[in-house]
Amino acid sequence: MRAGVGGSTSDILPQQTDEQFLRPIPYPSPPRALRAGGGKSSAVMLYFIEQSLNGVQLGMLLFLLAAGLTLIFGIMDLVNLAHGSLYMLGAYFAATFAAATGSFVLGAALALIATAVSGMALEVIAIRPLYGRPHLDHVLGTFGLILFFNELVRLVWGPAGMTLSLPSEMLTAVQIIPGVYYPLYRLVIILVTLAVAALLYILVMHTRLGMLIRAGASNREMVGALGVNIKLLYTLVFGLGAALAAFAGVMQAPILAVQIGMGENILILALVVIVIGGIGSIRGAFVAALIVGLIDTLGRAFLPPLLHAVLSTTAALTLAPALSSMSIYMLMAAILVVRPEGLFPAASR
């Protein structure tokens, strides 16, 4: 197989090819949000609540990823593109350990430890030389790590990917308020992540380690000058970030397949979250993750019926997904214009 790219560039762009052959959709799709409630406002409300929960669930997942990313960015001033690789590693570890132990929870716990340890080893071996160098070096270095981890996973686990199956009791939907059914596992994700967020808050705001983390985020040199072992602090923070990324990977693994490159798309969303939230701010990451999750999901749920009111079915059906995936980037652009430091800028640096 040839690996090189080269040759003449394509004169047919994929998008054009696709649009050129748009087939009209013959049957009209009734406006869904309205139809879902059969016109009754209470039913529309219930539908809205259910879709909002989907948004919150996505937001929670993004928070787990963004929290580690923003900590590392805020404290070490390191752009870590390989954060998605740790997310992938966590999912692979969980699938492996869960299969070996026969227990989902035990597998998940072992995966967190294994990824945190791997993360700390990674920091010592490959990340340390990058501190204090320009951001471009970070991007290049950690991009290389993405390729390294993808290939490593291919060697260790093979190209086919894995499955992390849920216990069968989880394959159900629960009625949370009358008329609103919600998948149990997604509910578990929301609750567990909220607990993790609370723990993280306590850790950062009310412990000695947290105090050092906050101090490190506002003035790195001063913390070092005061005799704190800054190297150890960095390694610990990186391990914590790795564990958070692994936690996101583990939670997401049963929903999406465990596969090579699974962290790359979601990392882009996580980067959007930390830009909106303010780099280095956990609180900002939490709020921004919720906003991004809600906008993405509600866009997907409510844009098609809204567009349908003004456009043909075919146009609405194909334009809506494109628009809703664009919406969070438009939000990011708007926030960058109004508040370039993000919603919750970390203490001025």
């Binding site: 879709q51 499955t163 049963p254 596969q259």
Partner: protein
């Protein structure tokens, strides 16, 4: 010393120049094979490559008596990469045949250079309506189907099951739109909603499944090929819909995803032109030898690609190895004169097979493994509805 080396080099180069044309006289069938060999969809590409290699093994590594060279190229699921790899195969490698293509959007993008260069082409999976209709070409054949056919078969089955309302879901690219059309061409009930999701990046279907639940249909129809099928069926089960709203599928559960879906796939019907257990000698040999060589089950992606080797063999045999005789090869291929793993079929005027579509389901075997089985014949000798738009007669 240096002089000796220089002399030796000169001698060998000259010899190579003389020997070159002589070597070229000894013909090989050069085949370019475009599929996906990286990323999660590499599982599909590997299955196609394995099946094609097995097909060549069964033919004694010769096609029409000529030795074979296959150049495998990775399209990365990207139309622009696919078209570029296709052009390289045509222009730099001067291949005699191009085989493969999983994705309809990649295939449609690659079709123009193939048609323009009159390259003998065998599409072994992608079945865009364009290929069957306006963009049909004398030198392009399919060993698979036109996309609308498989969902149309499952639509017929849904009518038989008394489904009155359905919610449709698929990815937003050529094949996804074809599939939703295909279902609607036979399904007599009411479509209460449909979603086309961004492809290939959206893999979380929470909002769409919530919508499907709210629409309260009798059934959900889904087309999610490859890894996306695993994710869709898993999330469908996790949302608790499995006991409530039955799922009907096309190209969503296959022999590659089944080992990972396991129980989640059991009881979810799908339509297919080929199933592992079709009772004919060619198929039995293919499946048994595939198991022996690769220790896994072939999928429909592989089965249709295995047929491509036999189809090329029939063409090269008919022209007695004269690969420049494209007309002769075209006429031979139009006869579909080879033993197909799905049982023999005829070609329509647009070079799309006229073939049977079966109902398949997933079962758990006594040894704990899972496999797909033929349940019944849904439609016999089905011809795609685009053949009338193809100018070839």
């Amino acid at each position: 010393m240096q002089r000796t080396i220089r002399l030796w080099l000169l001698a060998t180069t000259t010899l190579a120049l003389v020997a070159g044309p002589a070597l070229a006289q000894q013909k090989t069938v050069k085949i370019g094979f475009v599929s996906t060999f990286s990323g999660p969809a590499a599982a599909i590409g590997n299955d196609m490559r394995n099946s094609f290699e097995l097909g060549l093994d069964h033919l004694g590594r010769k096609l029409g008596g000529l030795p074979v060279q296959v150049i495998y190229e990775d399209d990365q699921i990207k139309p622009d990469v696919g078209v570029q790899k296709t052009k390289e195969l045509i222009e730099s490698d001067h291949v005699d045949f191009v085989v493969g293509y999983i994705w309809s959007n990649v295939m449609v993008a690659s079709l123009k250079p193939l048609i323009d260069s009159k390259t003998m082409t065998i599409v072994t999976n992608a079945g865009a309506s364009e290929l069957a209709g306006p963009m049909c070409s004398p030198y392009v054949f399919s060993t698979s189907w036109q996309n609308d056919q498989t969902p149309a078969a499952i639509g017929t089955y849904m009518n038989q099951k008394g489904v009155k309302t359905a919610f449709l879901m698929g990815p937003n690219y050529i094949a996804g739109r074809d599939m939703l059309h295909g279902l609607q061409s036979t399904f007599k009930g009411k479509i209460v909603g449909q979603d086309l999701t961004p492809w290939p990046n959206q893999l979380d279907f929470s909002a769409e499944l919530t919508e499907a639940r709210a629409a309260k249909p009798d059934a959900i129809f889904a087309f999610y090929p490859g890894g996306a099928g695993i994710q869709f069926v898993t999330q469908y089960a996790q949302s608790g819909l499995k006991g409530q709203i039955p799922l009907y599928t096309a190209f969503t559960i296959d022999d590659l995803s089944l080992p990972r879906l396991k129980d989640l796939a059991v009881g979810v019907p799908g339509a297919q032109n080929w199933v592992n257990d079709l009772p004919n000698a060619t198929n039995r040999k293919f499946v048994a030898d595939y198991h022996a060589k690769y220790h896994s089950s072939p999928s429909f992606y592989g089965a249709d690609t295995y047929d491509a080797a036999a189809l090329i063999n029939s063409a090269v045999t008919a022209v007695h190895g004269d690969l420049s005789n494209k007309e002769g090869m075209r006429k031979a291929m139009e006869r579909a004169d080879f033993k197909s793993v799905r049982g023999n079929f005829k070609y329509g005027n647009n070079h799309i097979p006229i073939q049977n579509f079966y109902l398949q389901d997933a079962r758990k075997n006594t040894d704990g493994s899972y496999s797909l089985h033929t349940v019944s014949l849904i439609v016999a000798n089905d011809q795609d509805k685009f053949h009338s738009q193809c100018p070839m007669k």
